[in-house]
Amino acid sequence: MTRNRIVWALLWILSLVGISFYGGPVSYGFFAVLTLIPVICLVYLLMVLACFKMYQRFTVPGIVCNHSVPFYFILQNEDLFSFAGIRVTFYSDFSQIDGVDDETEYELLPHTNIKKETDMVCRYRGEYNVGIKSVILRDFFCLFKLTYRNREPMKVKVLPDIINLENLQDVDIDSVSDKNTSSSLSHPDVTIREYIPGDDIRRMHWKQTARTGKPMVRNYIGEEKEGIGILLHSHRISSDPKEYLPVENRMLEIVIALALLFRERSIPATVCYYAKDPGLQIVDSADSFQALYKAMSDINFEEGEVSGCLYDAMMAGDAFSKKILFLVAPEMDEEVSAVLDRLRESDAEVILYLVRSGVEKEVTKLSPHITARTIPTDGQLPDLL
């Protein structure tokens, strides 16, 4: 295109020189023709823009993250003149069209169409535009390029992926499923401890309370903790979809994968999260897992102030009574730190999954009972967990 423009510009300058020294139809005609060429090319492009039609469609009703779905698009010319150069670009931030190159240019002869059947893969869960993003038109002299943004983009809701986990690196699944509650996993032999809100009032040790001036409760050896708690800190870290979509997608994958793992091992898992209000889902059957999946598919992460929401969700799910608590969060913010502090006091076994973009996986022991694992947004989840 640059070469054609340079040639046209040189000829136009030559025509200016021509009319400066010669009169008559040759010099002026040459100048007029060269001046009209870009005008007519633009008119042509505008006509193509007005007459060009395109269609795009998916052939399956639902789209799941990382699963390819059949997709096709049609470029149509219903007019009497050919469309010289048409290039189609696609949304590529969160989805990918297989087998179709963005750089491919098409020609549409009169009353012809081009149908391309291909597959599309959406990388992240969420709601975003996919398919044709814009159309670039070129005239028959390759002088101009007109980009037409798709006014009716396809907005799809992509469901999170369900990943099967075999095991977890930080947790012995078998021990979690041990029904013997006489000995807990790793609780120290403490008989009395400070009162934590939520403790059963019947366990209050009044004498010790009077003595110490602080509410104290009896802590039975081999205190019974059962079940798994999965706590989702559904806080949106950014307003830019390129930043928050991968993180949220991974977080939901972790939650769903953990729930599925424990459901398959017949270990009840309580999933706590918050949307506008604290949400709770106990996963102990296929139906309840489906309900969780639907909830995770529909959940909207909160962008604004979320102070106290995580704690409320935790309390709603009775997190302190769980054998192991999995906390899935996008970052170590105040909310997470506050919850961890509380959990530290309760000596709960906590696995913290911090999901971030552009990091390597890393394991850190925050306390004897709290393990933090940094999970990158790319990579295979079974390898990361």
Binding site: I19, V26, S27, V33, F81, E105, E107, F140, C142
Partner: protein
């Protein structure tokens, strides 16, 4: 058909272009419309011939030959009434069409040929530009052809996906290409090159702005507003009203004052150049010479030269030139600013001081007094006594060592060498001016010449000088015989060159011309810049003339001994004096235009076309009958399965004519079930057998072939009902 149309476009454009060029370049008048029609028809026929099948081509040849036979018979019978008699353009047009068609065949197939076509188009345009060919509408057709070739090449080399067919693409975008050329084709373009007047004005404004910023930092700049030190003869000039100078006069008299800025001594045919930068005090010697001549003549000094006072004030003019009137007696510019002589001009050694003012006295000549003519042509030589008197009048001492009389001789030689050349008038110009250059002396001749020029036309936009004007003689030929109009520079140039041809030194002066009503301050604007000639008369000095029409300058007063001043002689150029030849020519009656003989033409006889038409029709009928007979015999002689296949194929082609053709990738069964509602079951019942023959190798019998024939007959009846025209074509071919 698209392919035929594509090739037709490539054929018709060069054909039309070539025919238009041929018709415009032809000496005699050609019937352009008929030529174009024949050209188009020929290209259509050639294209048809190429894309017809063998039968069609034979038919085509047959019709063409029968037409030729018919025309030949008519011509043989009565050649003088034959409508093609004398149409010498016919064969060339046909040849051009055929050549274009061949070119189209090559250009549509081979890239080098296409490129050569584009180069040929541009070469043709260049030849037309240089007037080797006559320009007309053919230019635009050729341009369209070049654009078509370029678009075709771009389409070929442009890599894209999709169903690609260059021919369909080119045919479909051709209307856009046509539009590019169609709009300019109907615009009437000027014959003169574009003068870029607005660009020149813009540039001058930019230059002015730059000069204003640079003022005071540069020396010796020659940037002027209005007045210019460039001696070029421009195509046109524009007025400008900047305030350059102001003068203050003391005489309460209406008069015209000329302030000289720069004198030029060399003319190359197109512009004046200043090649003399001598520091000789020309102005002082000129004044001394004139005063000395007056002192040596009969009468008083004031009879011939009158002393006036002037004060010159520089306003917006930023010039290194000191604008002085002729015959300057004294001025204080030498003391106030550092000035020097520069080839007849007075210039500042550095730049002009800001708002510079000087004053001085000068002598105005009594040029239009009839007695002055005698004074100028008396041939007296100066004496030492006259010279000393002149020195005294200049306020100098006699025998002033700076202005010795001996140096005056050298001054005369210097003037002759500097301001003369070998200008020779051509015979035509000499003849034209023979009645003008009459008089008792050179001065009277030049006054007559001045009056003659005053009758010509003043034009600020005379257009560019032709390229062949390269010397003084050529300029005079062009200006006096052809152009006969221009502005002051043209007239001053023509006058000075004519004076030089008479052996008189002459120069071209640029400065300002101011007409004042009386005493007081008068602002000089840049539109008062002017050019005039000055001629040197030995022993008398330089005298300025005013040949520019409408700018006449009257300088005459009664001499001491003169009783009256004859207005007839003084105002003769105001009256408009014409040469004798012009007087005689004005009385000649205009000749009636010659009556041209009208050619006797026969009216077009339509019956002369009937015979070839009859022949062609007869041939057509015979041909069709022959084709049908051959086909019938061929089918009858076929084997059963061949016959069946032929008839089945025929049935499908009939269906196609009805718009029910089989689609790509469609099987016969699918096709049958699709079109059944339109045709009915019986018409397509041959398809089952056809499928078995094609796919299963089934042997068919004569009965099956006959059945196929019945199906064909049914389909023909259907075709007749649905599409009569297709039916007619079908039965004919």
């Amino acid at each position: 058909m698209i392919r035929a149309l594509y090739e037709f476009l490539f054929a018709i454009l060069p054909a039309l272009g070539a025919v238009l060029f041929y018709s415009e370049g032809s000496a005699s008048e050609q019937p352009v419309a008929a030529m174009l029609m024949v050209c188009v028809l020929a290209c259509v026929l050639f294209s048809l011939f190429l894309h017809l099948k063998m039968g069609g081509r034979l038919l085509f040849i047959g019709i063409a030959l029968s037409n030729v036979l018919g025309f030949y018979m008519i011509w043989k019978r009565s050649p003088e009434t034959f409508f093609l008699q004398g149409q010498t353009w016919l064969l060339p047009v046909l040849a051009i069409s055929f050549a274009s068609f061949l070119l189209a065949l090559l250009a549509t197939r081979f890239t080098p040929v296409r490129i050569l076509c584009v180069i040929a188009c541009f070469s043709l345009l260049v030849l037309t530009l240089l007037s080797y060919l006559t320009a007309g509408k053919g230019v635009f057709v050729i341009l369209l052809f070049a654009i078509l070739c370029v678009a075709d090449q771009i389409e070929l080399t442009w890599k894209r996906e999709g169903r690609r067919d260059k021919r369909i693409h080119m045919v479909s975008i051709f209307p856009f290409l046509l539009l590019i050329v169609l709009i300019p084709a109907f615009i009437k373009f000027p014959n003169k090159p574009y003068d870029w007047a607005f660009v020149v004005r813009l540039w001058e404004k930019v230059e002015t702005g730059a000069d204003l910023i640079r003022f005071g930092f540069m020396s010796g700049t020659d940037s002027f507003i209005g007045f210019t030190d460039n001696g070029g003869l421009k195509d046109s000039v524009e007025e400008d009203k900047r305030q350059d100078l102001a003068i203050t006069t003391k005489e309460d008299l209406p008069m015209t004052i000329y302030l000289s800025g720069i004198v030029f001594n060399t003319f190359d045919g197109r512009e004046w150049k200043k090649t003399n930068h001598s520091e000789f005090p020309e102005n002082e010697f000129d004044t001394l010479e004139s005063l000395a001549a007056a002192y040596g003549a009969d009468g008083l000094l004031t009879d011939y030269f009158k002393r006036q006072h002037i004060e010159v004030e520089y306003l917006d003019a930023k010039s290194r030139y000191v604008f002085i009137p002729a015959k300057l007696r004294s001025e204080d510019a030498h003391e106030k600013a550092n000035v020097k002589n520069d080839g007849g001009d007075l210039v500042f050694k550095r730049h002009s001081p800001y708002h510079f003012t000087f004053s001085g006295n000068y002598y105005r000549a009594n040029t239009d007094n009839p007695e002055f003519y005698s004074f100028m042509d008396d041939g007296k030589e100066l004496t030492t006594r006259d010279w000393n008197n002149a020195l005294a009048a200049m306020g100098k001492e006699p025998w002033d060592e700076h202005y010795p009389f001996d140096l005056y001789r050298e001054y005369q030689t210097y003037v002759k060498e500097t301001y003369s050349d070998d200008t020779v008038l051509s015979h035509q110009v000499s003849d034209a001016l023979s009645e003008v250059l009459k008089g008792d002396g050179d001065y009277e001749k030049l006054k007559n010449l001045e009056a003659y020029f005053q009758q010509m036309q003043y034009d600020t936009d005379p257009g560019p000088l032709p390229r062949e004007v390269k010397d003084a003689s050529a300029f005079l030929d062009h200006f006096l015989l052809k152009e006969r109009k221009g502005y002051c520079s043209y007239y001053a140039t023509a006058f000075a060159l004519t004076a030089r041809s008479m052996g008189l030194p002459a120069r071209y002066v640029q400065g300002y011309r101011i007409t004042v009503d009386g005493k007081g301050r008068h602002v000089i604007t840049s539109d008062m810049a002017h050019a005039w000639p000055e001629v040197y008369f030995a022993g008398k000095g330089w005298i300025a003339f005013e040949p520019t029409p409408g700018f006449y300058r009257l300088s005459a007063w009664r001499m001491f001994d003169q009783k009256t001043l004859d207005p007839e002689r003084v105002y003769k150029y105001k009256r408009g004096v014409r040469t004798q030849e012009e007087e005689e020519m004005a009385e000649e009656p205009e000749l009636e235009p010659e009556e041209s003989e009208s050619l006797r033409k026969e009216g077009f006889s339509w019956h002369s076309l009937m015979l070839p038409g009859i022949f062609a029709f007869a041939f057509l009928l015979l041909f069709l009958m022959a084709v049908k007979l051959i086909r019938f015999l061929r089918v009858r002689s076929m084997k059963a399965d061949q016959q069946f296949k032929y008839l089945a194929g025929d049935c499908l082609s009939i269906c196609r004519l009805m718009g029910l053709g089989i689609r790509e990738g469609e099987t016969l069964s699918e096709y049958q079930s699709r079109v059944l509602p339109e045709t009915g079951e019986q018409a397509l019942s041959f398809i089952d057998t056809y499928e078995r023959i094609l796919y299963a190798g089934f042997d068919c019998s004569r009965e099956d072939a006959a059945f196929a024939g019945d199906c064909r007959a049914l389909l023909m009846r259907l075709l007749k009902k649905k599409r009569k025209l297709h039916y007619l074509i079908r039965i004919c071919f």
